[in-house]
């Protein structure tokens, strides 16, 4: 099991903390400038969703390795309201409308793998991976 580093998200400032941690870990494992910027942007979106819509939540990072690749996995978990209609939130173009989950199609684009689970009234868990190319 890889060590996991987490940032709790309560106030807007914590978004910055999460970005910083994500960027540092990305840099350390060897991501270039462009991908660092993309990872930081993805972190912002996930952390902002927690900050705006959930009471409690955190963004965690860990390195992942396969036989041929290495990368970074980020996990955003919250105990917020949950997303009722995931497929409409995941539709592109939804980006412009704002509201909970509005930035998620962007996160999916910025990262390589993306997975979301959400239960209304319980919360949301998002996993996203970026591989080093």
């Amino acid at each position: 099991m890889n060590p996991r580093s987490c940032v709790n998200i309560h106030k807007e400032w914590d978004i910055v903390g999460a970005r910083q941690l994500g960027r540092e870990m990305a840099k350390e494992i060897g991501f270039g400038t462009v991908d660092q910027a993309r990872i930081a942007t993805a972190v912002s979106e996930l952390a902002r969703n927690i900050y705006l819509y959930a009471e409690n939540g955190q963004v965690c990072f860990e390195y992942i390795y396969t036989n041929s690749q290495k990368g970074i996995l980020m996990i955003a978990v919250d105990t917020g309201p949950g997303i009722k209609d995931i497929s409409s939130v995941m539709q592109d173009g939804y980006t412009t409308s704002g509201g909970l989950g509005a930035g998620l199609p962007g996160v999916k684009r910025l990262m390589d793998d993306f997975d979301i689970e959400s239960t209304v009234g319980e919360g949301t868990k998002i996993k996203a991976i970026k591989w080093i190319r």
Partner: protein, 337 residues
């Protein structure tokens, strides 16, 4: 994507060097070709900025740190521009899917709603129906009954495009299930009214005229549900006579009743049915007057019925700059004997 960047990175660097040294317009023109290629290959703005940073580092190895940092900052600012650009691709695909679907549906509608002009001795029929958009919200239908009777339906959904088309297929199947040839025009409308009222939400309604032409009796019997009035051209007087009818549009009142009208049709008279796409043609911002429409019909009145309607259509198509604002349907029957 990566190859496109790599393939162009040396070139970009050389053009940049050339531009810095000489401010040559040629370098900018060549750069334009590269940036067009980049967009085609979905290379995002942040990657362009990164390419620029690397080129500058190669040209000026001693470049101050502040410069590099400023460029990283700029790169960061363009990540969202990259995201927005990716939406273009997505939207373009979506739009193409929809357009293709509509075009298939329009063809299907043509097959579904297709009707044949009855070929009968003693009557010459002309008909044209052209949709303003891909799908037609006008409907017309002929049936051939016994004794030479011809049933004629003409209808217009209020609304255009796909919803109107769906609505029309309903009319078609409902009407198909009636013993049309023996059912009187007002009964046909009364039945259809119930179907429409039950199935379509109240914001949508349909105007329709249903007629039986009885050549043996030299009569036209018809009922109208709020439809654009038709005309009889009287060969004897060479005048047009409006067919005045009353009747509520289909789909607003559950138990609407329709009156049946009967007219005498004499040799060489013309029966004319149309939708408001014909009578409300526009010339610029001006609606044409009924008189104008009838004058155009009169102009071609001696032609065979099909040529007559084709010519009238061409006249108004041109008047409207080849862009129909509404579906256009015109039916003409001439009693030849």
């Amino acid at each position: 994507m990566k190859e496109t960047i790599e393939k162009n990175s040396i070139k970009y660097q050389e053009l940049l060097r050339k531009y810095i040294n000489t401010q040559d317009e040629k370098a900018l023109y060549d750069l334009e070709l590269i940036s067009k290629a980049f967009i085609k290959k979905n290379i995002l703005p942040e990657e362009l900025i990164n390419l620029h940073i690397q080129a500058m580092e190669n040209i000026y190895p001693q470049l101050m740190d502040e410069y590099k940092l400023s460029m990283e900052f700029l790169l960061e600012a363009t990540v969202f521009y990259g995201l927005a650009l990716q939406e273009v691709d997505y939207l373009r695909q979506e739009k193409n899917v929809l357009t293709a679907e509509i075009s298939v549906a329009a063809n299907m509608q043509k097959t579904l709603l297709g009707t044949q002009k009855p070929e009968r001795n003693g009557v010459d029929i002309g008909v044209i129906s052209v949709p303003a958009h891909q799908m037609n919200g006008d409907y017309h239908h002929f049936t051939a009954g016994s004794n030479g009777t011809i049933g004629i339906a003409i209808a217009d959904v209020i609304g255009k495009g796909i919803p109107a088309a769906l609505c029309m297929s309903m009319i078609k199947y409902a009407i198909d299930s009636y013993p049309e040839a023996t059912m009187s025009p007002n009964k046909v409308l009364e039945n259809l009214n119930r179907v429409v009222e039950r199935n379509i939400d109240s914001s949508m309604f349909i105007t329709m005229c249903y007629a039986h032409y009885l050549p043996m009796e030299s009569k036209l019997r018809l009922s109208s549900a709020g439809h654009e009035p038709g005309y009889i051209y009287r060969a004897e007087t060479e005048e047009f006579e409006e067919i005045r009818t009353k009747g509520i549009v289909l789909g607003v009142m559950p138990d609407a009743e329709y009156r049946e009208y009967e007219l005498n049709i004499n040799k060489d008279d013309l029966i004319i049915f149309l939708t408001d796409g014909v009578s409300e043609c526009r010339d610029g911002d001006r609606f044409i007057e009924t008189e104008e429409l009838l004058e155009v019909i009169r102009k071609y009145i001696d032609l065979p019925a099909q040529e007559l309607v084709d010519n009238v259509y061409q006249y108004f198509e041109k008047l409207q700059d080849f862009q129909l604002r509404d579906d256009f349907t015109l039916i003409v029957l001439r009693k030849e004997v």
